[in-house]
Symmetry: C2
Subunit: 189 residues, 2 copies
DNA sequence: AACGACTCTTGATAAATGTCAATGATTTTG
DNA sequence: CAAAATCATTGACATTTATCAAGAGTCGTT
């Protein structure tokens, strides 16, 4: 799986990174099956995950016990509970595999060490941070400025793969609507 | 105004930053009045703004012409269109003063230069990035997992200053509800 | 192939929220 | 300081979306 990571990093950095071998050793491969929780509310997130294959759902549970999906991540994306990870504090989110996955994860201690020691590592981390932040800003705007039907159209336009590979129910949660409304609105497309 | 900036940075870094004088010179003071646009959709965002005093609204305009407020920023916060700024691409957002403001702004070129040249600058930028990202993640979860009444309660709990210093209409836009609904739900508190 | 669990769809109904219009209050500005 | 503009509130009504329930379909496991 490390080859996928290396390719990903070369794409970002435009070259083979310094001390890649050393960094690569710190990544632990993982093959969790569908339904596995990588993080639960109130736990402290100890890792950053890189998705080689599969799909991760990050969500919170509302007062009625319903999942509210903040984000769905797939191949070549980086996932963590950013606030909890950086401050090593209890998470408010859950992270769950919604497909069988191939993941690489790096521990907080190694992450801290490489951030301080290897400039290229810090540089890539910053790029990922900027991209993640941009995406989340965009998500706020999408969720607050579009109605349910337009959010569905948006997803079809912008993330068609998600639409086809995930369940109606999960997509509905991602779009902030009930599965029933999702079914009905799809008929109006 | 630079004293406020210096204090802010000392708080973040835990010490007086290296080459502060040099960096400080790159910050241009600005005193826009209420209603001034700092950025419009389709423009390229050339600056990062630091708020010494006042309040900035960042929003998009939906298909019905209504403002949908992504964020409201006040004293000692950093504001830009992150995606457009980093890539020097057209913005999808507007940035507007909703109070008379005292601002400091740094130009893209200076920002790039200091990021590369001064480690402490890059370090503080990264901290701000992490905090901004965390806040935005939190905002997605708040907006998608709470109903209108609970979002109002959330605001009163977590950002009471905003509630009192801004108009009903603006707060409603921030919470993603109509001004009329806002008025009615406030009666139910 | 059969079982169980889960999912999708559809209908009926309810709840939440938006829209439009009118009025009075407040703020801004010449 | 007075006119003009904007804002807050309220009522009536419309629209959107959620909820609950039932049946049919799908999937994975044994």
């Amino acid at each position: 799986m490390l080859d996928v990571l290396q390719e990903h990093i070369i794409k970002r950095l435009g070259k083979v990174p310094e001390r890649f071998e050393e960094v690569a050793k710190a990544f632990e491969p993982l093959r969790p099956k569908r339904g596995t929780y990588l993080l639960r509310e109130a736990e402290v997130c100890k890792h950053v995950y890189f998705i080689v294959e599969g799909c991760l759902q990050v969500f919170v549970i509302d007062k009625n016990g319903n999942e509210s999906t903040r984000e769905l991540y797939t191949e070549e994306q980086w996932v963590t509970d950013i606030f909890g990870f950086k401050n090593q504090q209890a998470s408010e989110e859950y992270i769950k595999c919604v497909e069988p996955c191939k993941l690489l994860r790096i521990h907080y201690d190694a992450f801290q060490y490489f951030s301080a020691e290897i400039p290229a590592f810090a540089q890539i981390y910053q790029q990922i941070l900027e991209l993640s932040y941009s995406n989340t800003v965009y998500r706020v705007n999408t969720m607050t400025s579009l109605n349910a039907l337009d959010r569905i159209k948006w997803l079809i336009e912008n993330k068609p793969q998600l639409m086809t590979r995930l369940s109606n129910k999960l997509i509905a949660s991602y779009l902030g609507i009930s599965p029933e409304t999702m079914t009905r609105l799809k008929g109006k497309l």
